[in-house]
Symmetry: C2
Subunit: 146 residues, 2 copies
């Protein structure tokens, strides 16, 4: 039990604390979902989270997965990435960065802010305040014969 806990800790520094820090009560299901997101630190669709969480014996329902991801996003624990009209991706990396999106494979990759500079930001439309900047570089598989 102690070793299990230690093992988890190495991969996921205090997930429960992260949840609390974002005003989220750390329940079992939420912890399971958060561990998936923060151990691999990739991008996940709700469906992928569903599968990753439920490959073991302990199960989390679909409704809870969706509700929890929405909760995490609202509270700033993860970032929603909108690149595909058919599904939302959740990104555990909330620091300022951008994305490659492979339209053939559905793969999503981070682009560090230092690798892409935006200058001459235009004035915002009247009566609005900035809420975020998303840069998506769409790519295709080179071999795509199409």
């Amino acid at each position: 039990m102690e070793s299990l806990k230690e093992n988890q800790m190495t991969q996921n520094p205090d997930v429960a604390g992260m949840l609390r820090a974002h005003g989220i009560l750390p329940t079992q299901q939420r912890l399971m979902i958060a561990r998936v997101l923060f151990s691999r630190r990739q991008h996940y669709s709700a469906d992928q989270v569903m599968n990753s969480v439920n490959d073991g014996r302990d199960r989390v329902s679909k409704a809870t997965v969706y509700n929890t991801l929405g909760l995490f996003a609202r509270n700033g624990l993860v970032r929603e990435v909108i690149v595909d009209p058919t599904r939302v991706f959740y990104d555990p990396n909330t620091s300022d960065h951008h994305h490659f999106y492979n339209i053939d494979t559905g793969e999503l990759l981070d682009i560090d802010t230092s690798d892409l500079r935006i200058s001459d930001l235009p004035e915002l439309p009247e009566g609005t305040v900035a809420a975020g900047v998303d840069v998506i570089i769409r790519v295709r598989a080179e071999t795509a014969t199409n």
Copy 2:
């Protein structure tokens, strides 16, 4: 009949020709949809196109609206803008440009390329070729209490 045609021409330079130039057979319904897109030159969700096209007496079915917008997008007549997981926007402006998206109102505004410069584009992931760059500046209504 002549004056009607002239009137349309002022707003929409040769819509039929545009369709043909993109390899699209200009049928009545497609012309009606294209006229909506190219007379006001704004951004439309499929539903907004549906409503605009069908405010008159001549009607176009929902299936045809969706299929036609998809066809237009595949053939490069319009650009799909993915900013909201709940709906796709269609942009009759196919020149290189970016967008403001008001997450409160759903309003979409163009940003000219000259008003926003991207430099230091990172190397593409191995085995991929560029397919497009989308920059979305998300804004909120200033007064949003939320």
